[in-house]
Symmetry: C2
Subunit: 201 residues, 2 copies
């Protein structure tokens, strides 16, 4: 599908089966978690669970949040390509979404994306916001009091709050329940057209 | 912990919390699935769901199976490092296991590991074995009959059946339920001693 003249992406064809899977798992909060693989500076892969925060308005880009102090950020600056793996337990289907990540930190120049960053911060739970005021992740365990900082201002994102955007160029959808299993590849070409092909599982 | 003189690894300290998580999710077959990140030849990450097939006897190596025709194999030959991300939905805890992968295919010279490969094949379900007789994965969808081949011999692994072993050198265990969250790092040093440290989540 082509990007429109207004710069608004059409809805990609993989959005429909993904929306259906999310709807069918709406009672399970963990169905909004997926695993995000990146590559470390030393060339080894890294993999962690992240929370899906919806799509950026009028695009097919998935929103994730992170802390600028986390190891992901350094990895992404070095190698922006990532692959999300999203498994849905009830319908037994998997989506693999490969694309580049963009990190929207406090210094990111685009004002629209800066608004999206602030909006995402405002929509977090108090508990989720509090984690950005915790001690430096991955360092030696701090004492208990360090984890009870004053609540951050809900209207103004902390400087270490970062919005990540995953812009898929290839989506691999596998249905284990098919007989035999069904698998589709969606590939975006340089004109932003999506090609869909049924492949062997 | 040190490797004993008999070449048998002691049980690593992260095995105990992992065994507890598996036990507490024993009624959910999908709790034995995790996401395995590898790196492609072009330097981009790949990520997919795999099934945990237990530990190789007397080691801390996780068993996975794959098809030699899958893209993973080429990736692993190029970059053997991988990271597994294993999220447990009920207890809300995550294990990240980083280490090298070894692929035991039909030509692997070690007779003990070849036995382990055959044993793993014999213990698969009929349906799982059948998939190794399916058409080439990831190619254009074959016709329906191609997915109903004769059942493979349960006593003799097909040549494209491959046992993968993940040998963790670093394990990152995060408990989201803690107040605050708890996180431990387990790191194996060159003498195969495991160091355990509590770190900030």
């Amino acid at each position: 599908m082509q990007e429109s003249q207004a710069g608004i992406d059409m809805i990609s064809p993989w959005r429909s089966p993904l929306a259906r899977a999310l709807h069918r798992h709406r009672s399970q909060p963990f169905s909004r978690y997926f695993q995000l693989a990146t590559v470390q500076v030393d060339g080894r892969p890294a993999n962690r669970t992240v929370v899906f925060r919806g799509f950026l308005d009028n695009t097919n880009q998935l929103k994730i949040i992170t802390d600028t102090r986390s190891q992901k950020l350094e990895q992404i600056h070095h190698q922006p390509w990532a692959e999300a793996c999203w498994y849905f337990t009830e319908t037994r289907e998997q989506f693999r979404l490969a694309g580049k990540l963009t990190s929207i930190d406090a210094n990111y120049p685009d004002s629209e994306l800066q608004k999206a960053r602030q909006f995402t911060w405002q929509n977090l739970s108090d508990n989720a916001r509090l984690q950005f005021a915790w001690p430096h992740p991955n360092e030696k365990r701090a004492n208990c009091e360090a984890f009870s900082p004053p609540s951050p201002d809900p209207s103004q994102a902390l400087p270490n709050f970062c919005l990540l955007l995953l812009d898929p160029v290839k989506v691999d959808h596998l249905e284990l329940r098919g007989d035999p299993q069904n698998r589709w590849l969606y590939v975006r070409d340089e004109s932003h057209n999506w090609l869909t092909q049924a492949v062997n599982p």
